[in-house]
């Protein structure tokens, strides 16, 4: 287990462990698409540690970003006779196929954070991405307009992989906030496909074409280091209050974003409550196993919130990335 996983696991809510322990010892297949970002690593650590601590057997399957491989891995799990499956899918489409596969084999399945395109099947624990993104973008839109009351503002949205419903929700949330002042903003969309190299190339192209940037929203916090590498050489990486500051917001609530909000480079980030989502996934799948329910269908929504420079003092402890940061995560990482 990596230090990060240990840290993440160590910080899981005690209640989750208590809940997980309520079911008789079960064998759970935990199939995840990859461990590329802080969010997934922390989520992976929280789920595996909690299940193991509660006496359950965890069979881990890493699909390495291959949807077909993940389908084959889930079939392997079903053949092994697991009691339930927790899935972090590659995308919404493959999630729908895999949920149907599990339910056809009478195996309860819960989808963690990245929802299937068909929400009616399986236990789906998902953040309200549109609302959370809207809250984060609202806060920077107001500040950007206050700082520049006249004229057009140039905004950039770094879009995720739109095959992922989370990315679609975040994009919708961004536009819901921007469209309240549609006459004030020119928007450039930068595709990332949830890939740092793709985001780097496309953002460089966008900023080269139009070097004047007033506001940026990234659909995931894990891209902030990439954004910095593009902005810094162009004089766009400034703290709040400094000349040329770009109003920036993200979404996830990871440790890097927390540090950047504290430092004043980033103004807001939408926070998914990782621990709430992990707890609810485990609670629901173990309850279904205990009840002998083979095809549980339920949508559990994480309301989330936006951490901004204004509420940092009061809500910092509610953000999972800030909790990791306070435990020295970024120091350990470096």
């Amino acid at each position: 287990m990596t230090r990060l996983q240990a840290l993440a696991a160590g910080t899981i809510l005690a209640g989750a462990a208590m809940t997980a322990g309520s079911a008789s010892a079960a064998t759970i297949c935990f199939a995840f698409q990859d461990l590329e970002t802080e969010f997934w690593v922390a989520g992976h650590g929280a789920i595996t540690k909690t299940l193991k601590d509660a006496g359950h057997t965890v069979i881990e399957r890493n699909a390495n970003e291959d949807a077909n491989r993940q389908l084959e891995q889930v079939r392997d799990c079903i053949a092994q006779g697991v009691d339930g499956i927790i899935l972090i899918p590659q995308d919404g489409e493959s999630a729908t196929t895999i949920v149907a596969e599990a339910q056809d084999a009478d195996t309860p399945i819960a989808v963690f954070n990245r929802p299937p395109s068909d929400l009616s099947k399986g236990i789906v624990v998902v953040a309200d991405n549109a609302t959370i993104a809207g809250q984060a973008v609202d806060s920077i839109v107001e500040k950007a307009i206050a700082a520049k009351p006249e004229g057009k503002l140039n905004a950039i949205i770094v879009v995720g992989d739109l095959g992922d419903p989370n990315a679609v929700g975040r994009k919708n949330g961004f536009y819901a906030a921007i469209n309240k002042h549609a006459d004030r903003f020119d928007v450039t969309e930068v595709a990332s496909q949830w890939d740092a190299a793709t985001a780097l190339a496309n953002l460089e192209a966008a900023v080269t074409a139009n070097p004047k940037v007033d506001l940026l929203f990234t659909s995931s916090d894990f891209l902030f280091p990439t954004i910095r590498s593009v902005f810094e050489p162009r004089g766009l990486w400034k703290k709040t209050g400094e000349e040329g500051h770009v109003w920036m917001a993200g979404l996830d609530g990871d440790a890097t974003a927390c540090q950047l909000v504290k430092d004043g480079f980033v103004d807001a980030t939408g926070v998914q409550d990782l621990y709430f989502e992990a707890e609810k996934s485990l609670e629901a799948i173990l309850a279904a196993i205990d009840a002998g329910e083979a095809q549980p269908n339920e949508v559990i929504e994480d309301p989330g919130f936006a951490l901004t420079t204004d509420n940092l003092g009061t809500r910092e402890k509610d953000m999972w990335g800030c909790v990791l940061l306070s435990q020295g995560f970024l120091k350990n990482k470096s």
Partner: protein, 390 residues
Amino acid sequence: MSELPPAGITPRPDIRAPAARPAGADLGQRVRALLLSDYFVLYLSLAYFLALVPFLPTLSTPGNIVNLMSNMWPLLVVAVGQTFVLTIAGIDLSQGAVMGLTSVVVAMLIATAAPATVLANAPIWGSLLTEQGGLLAGIPFASAVGIAAMLAVAALVGLFNGLAVARLSMPPFMVTLVTMIAVAAFAIWLTQSNNIRELPESFISLGKGDIVSVYLGPKLESQLPRREVYSFITWPMVIALAAAVFAHILLNRTVFGRWVFAVGINRKAAEISGVPVARVIVTVFVISAVCAAIASILYTARLETGRPTLGGGNFLLDVIGATVIGGTSLFGGKGKVIWTFFGVLFFVLLSNTLNLLNLSAFHIDMVKGGVILMAALLDVVRTRLMRSAT
């Protein structure tokens, strides 16, 4: 062409144990015969399976064997195509990209609906694909026409590869590398990297439809437990085996097959002997691409989604690995579809057991890489043994 040897091209030595030889020499002969046997990889697979069953009881359960078979069929079809290319001493790196492109092609034609929120920015939106689905949505035989379009697109890519290699004398590695990059990028551009769902049931059944299912337990209740009803004969199995049998006949029972071996052994000599080398090379690359498209049908249908990234990642490792493990030589002139069948069986079995051992994806790929290296070394050993026997 009748003087050319049949299947496998290299004449197999008539191995007999001489009388009154020491036991060590006799054992050596047997090992040599085993290594040179057509069924070597099958024996290896069986030995591997039997050795692991006591430690991994799940391995021999009906559910797991059904999974093994299910994972084997699409890979077999792609590997059969690669067998042709390797036999002419070439390589086709573009098979995965062809799978991605043809997956998008069929989905954008036959999808019954598509969400504007996801696909509105795609260049095909509004012309080939709308919220009401693809161009062929709702028409009779839409799936058949879509599949024909997949095969035609694949054949075009194969034709390009073949012409570049045969007519321009470009190295297959470079040609197919470029095709791989360009075709994969084109597939991603078509949908802006988004997947297309809502495929018709008639198409999906090709990837996961059962023809015969079996239940092995006692019938205690009126309703059988679905988890224990196993697919026995499936559409992917029928399609893959049909493709493999056709390819086997083509490669080992026709004049064209002999030309393929002749080109692989020595292109110049084949030319002098009157073999239409350019035509053979072009046809082989078309076969390879069409096989990739057939596999794409199976993968797209089982995932119920047209995916531009299908065949990406380490997929090519699996294809070339399975083919080489089977015994098809990377140096050309030596290959059989039955070898590829056994190679795919071993490769899928290996992946399955590594999964059951709960190894991480990274360790699994490292082990696979090691096994492919061993297979390549074995190929060298077998080639030397054959030469020394002639």
